[in-house]
Structures are given as structure tokens and as C-alpha cells.
């Protein structure tokens, strides 16, 4: 295949073709099986990249940046003291300062990094155009714990993705509306392996430090059921949310 055809194929995926080039590409694709294969291959890569979930910035990051760029006089001593160190070492302290009460929100993540801030209370997510990849998340910023817990729905079941940084052991409990959860296991996505225990009505994971893993739930008819997620510090509930999986496959805030 010549260089011009390759350039046209990739430029078409990048939205960089003018009308004349677009017509030229259509002709080339009609004439060449090799060009069509390359076009399909490039489209597949484009689709794979587009399917990646957007990462939600850590809770507390915005406030930490503001504190360093524009410290408020009333809080300057405390914030200046922590601002001398990199954020990763000060994040929990700042989080504790700004989270006088537990901040627990459910946010809808999409693949559009340019979306404006959303009102969590108004969200009712659906699978939509990101079929199989639309997560819901608990963004947690509660003193010693920060990070997110996301629920993905895929072809084969549900995945609870946990990405939490805790300065002391916490316990994550997942329960499904009255019926015991059937879980396949835990997949470490970064950091050390984690262990889970089956409990009477769900699963329990003891979590310590900065860990990122996925809890995989066996294929299940979740239509109309609910998934409840709760995080405990010892016996103290520090965050919880519920998601309802509708018969049509949509995930909605409970």
C-alpha cells in the first residue's frame, strides 16, 4: 500500500480530511482490499483507545492546588506547612482539613474529558454510547481514605474497580440486594495482591495502603437488583452508596 493511502486512512480517523481527500479515500477503499484491511485495523485501534475509561482526579487535588497557589490568610500557616512537601505526602492531611464531614458522591464518568462538572445528585447513568465501559464511582475523601470505587458492567458480568489510598486498614463490603453475590475473585491492577472473604450476603475486602484492584462478579441476572458498597474504618461506616441495575441494563444511582 502506498504512503498516500496510509496517510488518508489515518487522517480520516483523525477528522483531518477535506472533501476531495475524503472522496479519494472512498475510491481507494472501494478498489483495494488491502486498504480496507488497514482501515479496519486503524479503526479498531481508535475504538480501543476511545473505550478507555476516564480517570477521575483524586478528591482533594483541586483544593490542594488552590491552597498552594492562593493560600487563604486564615488558613495559611497550616497549609503552608504542608505545601512544602509533594502533594502525595500532604494529600491526606489536606483531605482531612477539608472533609470535616464525609464527602461521598456518586459521579458518572464518560470518555469525554472536556465535560463540565456535573451535579452528582442529578445523575442517572446509562450504558449509552460507552456500552460495556460506563462506570459509576464513589469518590471518597474522608480523612484517612481517598480515591474511588467504580462499578463497570461488561459482557460477562460486573466489575467493582477499587482504587483507594488509605493510611490505615479499612474494610470494603459489597452486597447485592438481598441475594448473595457470586464473585469470581480479585484482580490486582496495580500494587500488591489483595484478599477477599465471602460473607453471608456478599464479600468483604480488607484494604490497606494504596491499592488498585478489581472485584469480579460472576455473570448474573442483575436486572432490577441493587449493588450496595460500603467502606468501614473499624466498625465505623465512613462511606456508602447503592447502584440499581435496571432490567434494561442501565446503572442508576439507587
Amino acid at each position: 500500500m502506498d504512503q498516500r493511502t496510509l496517510e488518508l486512512i489515518h487522517a480520516s480517523l483523525d477528522g483531518e480530511l477535506n472533501t476531495a481527500d475524503s472522496l479519494d479515500l472512498q475510491r481507494l477503499l472501494a478498489e483495494s482490499a488491502e486498504a480496507r484491511r488497514e482501515h479496519e485495523r486503524a479503526q479498531a485501534i481508535d475504538k480501543a483507545l476511545a473505550s478507555l475509561a476516564v480517570h477521575e482526579p483524586p478528591p482533594g487535588l483541586r483544593d490542594a492546588i488552590l491552597a498552594r497557589a492562593l493560600p487563604r490568610p486564615a488558613t495559611a500557616p497550616a497549609r503552608q506547612a504542608s505545601s512544602a512537601a509533594p502533594l502525595r505526602r500532604t494529600g491526606l492531611g489536606i483531605a482531612a482539613a477539608i472533609a470535616a464531614s464525609a464527602a461521598l458522591v456518586v459521579v458518572l464518568l464518560t470518555n469525554d474529558a472536556q465535560l463540565p462538572e456535573l451535579d452528582p445528585s442529578a445523575l442517572a447513568g446509562t450504558i449509552g454510547r460507552h456500552a460495556g465501559a460506563v462506570p459509576h464511582a464513589i469518590s471518597m475523601d474522608e480523612g484517612a481514605v481517598s480515591g474511588a470505587v467504580r462499578l463497570h458492567r461488561g459482557e460477562h458480568g460486573l466489575v467493582i474497580e477499587v482504587d483507594l489510598d488509605s493510611s490505615k486498614p479499612i474494610t470494603l463490603v459489597a452486597r447485592a440486594g438481598g441475594d448473595p453475590l457470586e464473585f469470581e475473585g480479585i484482580v490486582p491492577l496495580a500494587g500488591s495482591p489483595v484478599g477477599a472473604t465471602r460473607i453471608e450476603d456478599g464479600i468483604r475486602v480488607v484494604h490497606d495502603g494504596n491499592q488498585h484492584y478489581a472485584i469480579v462478579l460472576r455473570q448474573h441476572d442483575f436486572g432490577g437488583s441493587t449493588i450496595n458498597l460500603a467502606v468501614f474504618d473499624g466498625d465505623r461506616l465512613i462511606g456508602e452508596t447503592g447502584l440499581k441495575v435496571s432490567a434494561d441494563g442501565a446503572l442508576r444511582k439507587k
Binding site: 496510509l6 489515518h10 477528522g15 485495523r41 476511545a50 475509561a53 491492577l189
Partner: protein, 168 residues
């Protein structure tokens, strides 16, 4: 000061998620991405009075984020080989963890690209910059942007195909 704060908060609202995601795609490490996001905004704040408003603001802030990410990559020493990241050794059928594993597999492939190639992929696919924007951000000719994108996509395609053939 109030005006500064409002303006800076607006910039944060507009760009925080994008900058964090640029850094995550470049680094695949939340703590590093958090630091890069913070440093990027602090540099913007420090140098805002030097910004030439004849240029696109996002090009400037994206350039800072990419450069900070590359600086962080250059300073890395602590990471295990990439093959150790995103492992899928958990119990149960592999296909059950489809979304998380698929994301990990794609990000693995991205991380195997050189930083230069990763930067063009990140800017094109995760910020939707045009060729012209990417050329301006990276300070390279558009022709180089196209060739790097092509090479990067070829490498990604080969890696993802190899993963599929390997049953991952």
C-alpha cells in the same frame, strides 16, 4: 486576590480532569499523575502573566503537562518491568474481568510506546487535539506528528493483536 482566585478556580474546573488524564496516560501512576497535575497548574499560575493570549491556552497548558510528565518519566527508577503491571493472575475465568482487564491491556500497550509516541497518542486520542495543535504543543512539524501517530498506532495494533493471540 479574589479575582485571581475566581480565575484560577475556573481554569482548574475547566482543565483539571484533562490534565490529570494526560498525566495518567503518560505515566500510569496516580501519585505521579497527581503531582504532575499540581505542578502544571502551579506553573500556569506562576507564568500566567507571561502567557501570550494570541496563542491557544490549552496548547500551553497541555505542553506543560506533557513536559512535566516526560520529566517524571526521566526521573523514574522505582518501577518494576511493565509486564508486572496490570497482571491478571486472579482466580476465575479471565474473560469475566473484561472491562478492567481490557483497559489494563490497552494501557499496557500505550506504556510500551516511547514517550514521544505516547505523547502524540495522548494528545490526539485523549484531548482531541488536531495535528496542528499537537505540532504546536510538541514543537514539531505536522509531518512528524503524522508519522509518529502512524508508527505509534502500528505498534499499538501489533501489541494488542499479540495479546489477543496470547489469550489475554
Amino acid at each position: 486576590m479574589t479575582g485571581d482566585r475566581v480565575a484560577f478556580e475556573t481554569l482548574l474546573t475547566r482543565y483539571q480532569r484533562t490534565i490529570f488524564n494526560i498525566a495518567m496516560r503518560m505515566l500510569r501512576h496516580r501519585d505521579d499523575a497527581r503531582d504532575v497535575t499540581q505542578t502544571t497548574f502551579l506553573r500556569v499560575f506562576e507564568k500566567l502573566d507571561q502567557f501570550d493570549f494570541n496563542y491557544k491556552f490549552y496548547s500551553w497548558i497541555y505542553r506543560i503537562a506533557i513536559n512535566e510528565s516526560i520529566n517524571t518519566l526521566n526521573g523514574r527508577q522505582r518501577f518494576a518491568p511493565l509486564d508486572d503491571e496490570g497482571v491478571d493472575e486472579g482466580p476465575g475465568p479471565r474473560e469475566a474481568c473484561d472491562v478492567a482487564q481490557r483497559d489494563a491491556r490497552i494501557q499496557d500497550a500505550i506504556m510500551r510506546l516511547s514517550p514521544d509516541h505516547r505523547a502524540v497518542i495522548t494528545l490526539r486520542h485523549f484531548t482531541e487535539c488536531s495535528y496542528q495543535d499537537i505540532a504546536a504543543i510538541l514543537g514539531i512539524p505536522e509531518k512528524t506528528v503524522k508519522s509518529r501517530l502512524f508508527t505509534a498506532r502500528q505498534a499499538l495494533g501489533e501489541r494488542l493483536a499479540a495479546d489477543r493471540e496470547g489469550g489475554v
